[in-house]
């Protein structure tokens, strides 16, 4: 096991370097520059800018400089668009926003999803089961950039209950709508996973025994079934969390939250090379670590898998 983990970690490093190299090349290929704006820039001024940021140097020199900074000091440099702001600082202050919304959304999704899923599993193929699963499917099928505006329309613009957008720290009323919007999809997935896992467990002999003893539904679920039935949910947590943290772009855009996803889209549109590379590196590391964790978790949960 330990050998496996070490091997995986060793592979992770070159993987990330390859990812960063490809990203670097792609940003170079994309037309336009970070200084392109609606006011055209006279060539002489463009030349000044290029010299200032070392863009006049040959590409391999620029590549070497970028990569060396990352490898040597884990320093991604400073943003081109946001004069003087270091990429590390931007990530450090936008990550908590994304993480707060993401974690809250996931907790909400877990709570609702597990309850709904286990309730549905108690009476498989009943109307109730169909209804809740259809509802879950609806959650999967409504894109969150449709769900978000609809929630804003109802609870903010029409009822004047909640602010329509903006980040105001945590806790605040501003968090409610983004969290609900983000959790919809995951709630639905977790409900389905829970139902599936529970169905499997509920068929097993020990549950039948427990029922035969005359235990009530809730006792059966809480005491016996949940532990085994939630295995799929647990294994889903790894990848889901990684994407909750980094993949909240839409929610952050709709609700104008200063999170990592928003920065990433902005950086891409701004061709802000150091910031793009920094965020990609962060996402890549998070993803690879999450994948590793999931593999380890599988090994513990499922004795049939051995590394």
């Amino acid at each position: 096991m330990l050998r496996f983990i070490i091997r995986r970690l060793l592979i992770t490093i070159p993987t990330i370097l390859v990812v960063l190299t490809i990203t670097w090349a792609l940003v170079r290929l994309a037309p336009g520059n970070f200084y392109t704006s609606d006011k055209n820039i006279p060539p002489a001024i463009e030349k000044n800018i290029r010299e200032k940021y070392g863009l006049d140097k040959p590409w391999y020199e620029q590549y070497r400089r970028t990569m060396w900074g990352i490898v040597r000091h884990f320093d991604f440099g400073t943003s081109l668009k946001y004069e003087g702001q270091s990429v590390n600082a931007i990530i450090a202050r936008s990550l908590p926003v994304s993480a707060t919304v993401g974690l809250l959304a996931y907790l909400l999704a877990l709570a609702v999803g597990i309850v709904a899923g286990s309730m549905a599993s108690l009476h498989p193929n009943s109307k109730r089961d169909y209804a809740s699963m259809a509802l879950a499917m609806l959650g999967i099928s409504i894109p969150n950039f449709v769900l978000g505006p609809i929630l804003v329309f109802i609870f903010s613009l029409t009822l004047y209950w909640l602010p329509p957008s903006r980040w105001n720290g945590f806790p605040s009323r501003n968090v409610i709508l983004p969290v609900i919007t983000l959790s919809g999809l995951y709630m639905a997935y977790i409900a389905r996973l829970t139902r599936a896992g529970m169905l499997e467990v509920l068929r097993s002999d020990y549950i039948r025994t427990a029922r035969a003893k005359g235990l009530s539904d809730s006792q059966v679920i809480l005491r016996h079934a949940l532990r085994g039935g939630l295995l799929p949910v647990v294994s889903y947590t790894g990848p889901a969390l990684a994407f909750l943290v980094t993949g909240t772009v839409v929610v952050e855009r709709i609700f104008v939250l200063p999170g990592l996803g928003n920065y990433f889209i902005q950086a891409s549109l701004n061709r802000d090379e150091p910031l793009i590379i920094g965020i990609v590196a962060f996402i890549a590391i998070t993803l690879l670590l999450m994948n590793l964790l999931v593999d380890i978790a599988y090994a513990f949960l499922d004795p049939r898998i051995r590394y």
């Binding site: 993987t15 990330i16 390859v18 490809i22 990203t23 792609l26 290929l29 994309a30 037309p31 169909y130 699963m133 499917m137 609806l138 999967i140 099928s141 409504i142 894109p143 969150n144 950039f145 449709v146 505006p149 609809i150 804003v152 329309f153 999809l185 997935y189 389905r192 996973l193 139902r195 599936a196 896992g197 169905l199 499997e200 068929r203 295995l231 799929p232 889903y236 990848p239 889901a240 994407f243 980094t246 993949g247 839409v250 990433f264 889209i265 891409s268 793009i276 965020i279 990609v280 996402i283 890549a284 993803l287 994948n291 999931v294 593999d295 499922d302 049939r304 898998i305 051995r306 590394y307």
Partner: protein, 362 residues
């Protein structure tokens, strides 16, 4: 929603099984033991006695399997519902614009010449505010008939969904099968490449693809979308197929084929790949809605289809802009899109249940 990595956005739910899909563990080292994760093998391995038949080219596994699956699918009411809705929407999208043109003379890209009509008119209302059948869904900001646009948007969205999925299917299946069959170092390298691609921010890839290979026409742009979306959504497919192939490649029918001197490409594509069709079909069905969502997301960012064409995604994006004041612009395309995705997902689920032998126990 499908943002950084559309392919991961829909985690393959082991659905109604207790084990992860074989291809999905990120590094299922080649040490899978037989009879372990290969739950589909017994059904698909019927070919072992059919090596010769397979050699002759009729590689479709025993018809009884497919007939069984079809029977199970029909028993699943939600899947049938999904199938019907998808069929109706498809037919309406294809024929609808013609019918509307015959009935009212309106086309999806017709902008009224009278400037007084260049505005968003509510459903079932005439320009003067009285009742009118002309615009069942109202009009968009430029006075174009929304129903005609929703139907035409359906053509584009369905087309993007299906064709991009086919593109991803072709790349993913070949890649996964080759990696799985060759195994060892090559497999390791190929799957490492997939890992790398997984961590790439695909929005950048799409921006580059759509701007470097720019197209002159709206139709050309749609073609580019097929390629761009297809080329970033094959990764999960490759993993699934690889997992399947890993489990199939040591089965007797493959060994027999190898022993009789069949060439490697032939073994991969004539013998093994057909046996992975079940999970591939299921995953492809589930990829279609994901791709449609991604197209919508690209439209949300302004990279989607070009005017005068519209897709559901671009219509929804326009609708979001005006939800505070012309809600019908979001509601009609949004509901149509959600309904289609909903149905496609049910259909995909139904297919999985039908093709998944584990479900037989239920």
């Amino acid at each position: 929603m499908p943002v950084l990595h559309m392919h991961d956005d829909r985690p393959i739910i082991p659905g109604d099984r207790d084990k992860p899909e074989p291809g999905l563990t990120p590094d299922p080292a080649p040490s899978y033991s037989e009879g372990d994760v290969i739950h589909t093998a017994p059904e698909f391995a019927i070919a072992e006695a059919d090596v010769l038949a397979a050699e002759r080219g009729d590689v479709i596994p025993g018809t009884s399997l497919w007939r069984d699956a079809w029977r199970r699918l029909l028993k699943n009411r939600l899947a049938v519902f999904g199938m019907l809705v998808v069929a109706i929407i498809t037919v309406a999208s294809v024929t609808g614009p013609f019918i509307i043109k015959q009935l009212t003379g309106l086309t999806p890209d017709y902008i009224p010449t009278d400037v007084a009509l260049l505005r968003s008119i509510p459903p079932l209302t005439g320009p003067e505010g009285s009742f009118s059948w002309t615009h069942l869904m109202g009009t968009d900001n430029q006075g174009r008939d929304l129903l005609a646009r929703v139907l035409q948007g359906g053509q584009i969205s369905l087309m993007v969904g299906i064709i991009a999925t086919l593109v991803s299917l072709i790349i993913g299946v070949s890649y996964g099968a080759v990696a799985g069959y060759l195994g060892g170092r090559i497999d390791n390298l190929m799957m490492r490449a997939v890992d790398v691609l997984y961590s790439l921010p695909y929005i950048i890839i799409v921006i580059v693809l759509l701007s470097v290979f720019r197209s002159q026409t709206a139709r050309g742009q749609v073609l580019l979308l097929f390629v761009a979306l297809g080329s970033v959504s094959w990764l999960t497919m490759a993993r699934i197929v690889r997992g399947q192939v890993l489990s199939l490649k040591n089965q007797e029918f493959v060994l027999a084929a190898r022993a009789t001197g069949v060439s490697t490409p032939r073994i991969i594509f004539r013998h093994i790949v057909p046996n992975t069709l079940g999970p591939v079909i299921v995953y492809a069905t589930l990829t279609i809605p994901t791709v449609m969502l991604t197209e919508a997301f690209l439209s949300f960012l302004g990279f989607g289809v070009q005017p005068p064409l519209a897709s559901w995604g671009s219509l929804v994006t326009d609708g979001i802009q005006n939800i505070g004041i012309f809600p019908w612009q979001l509601i009609f395309p949004g509901v149509t899109m959600a309904l289609t995705l909903f149905s496609l997902n049910f259909l995909g689920d139904g297919l999985r249940d039908a093709l998944d032998p584990q479900m037989r126990k239920l």
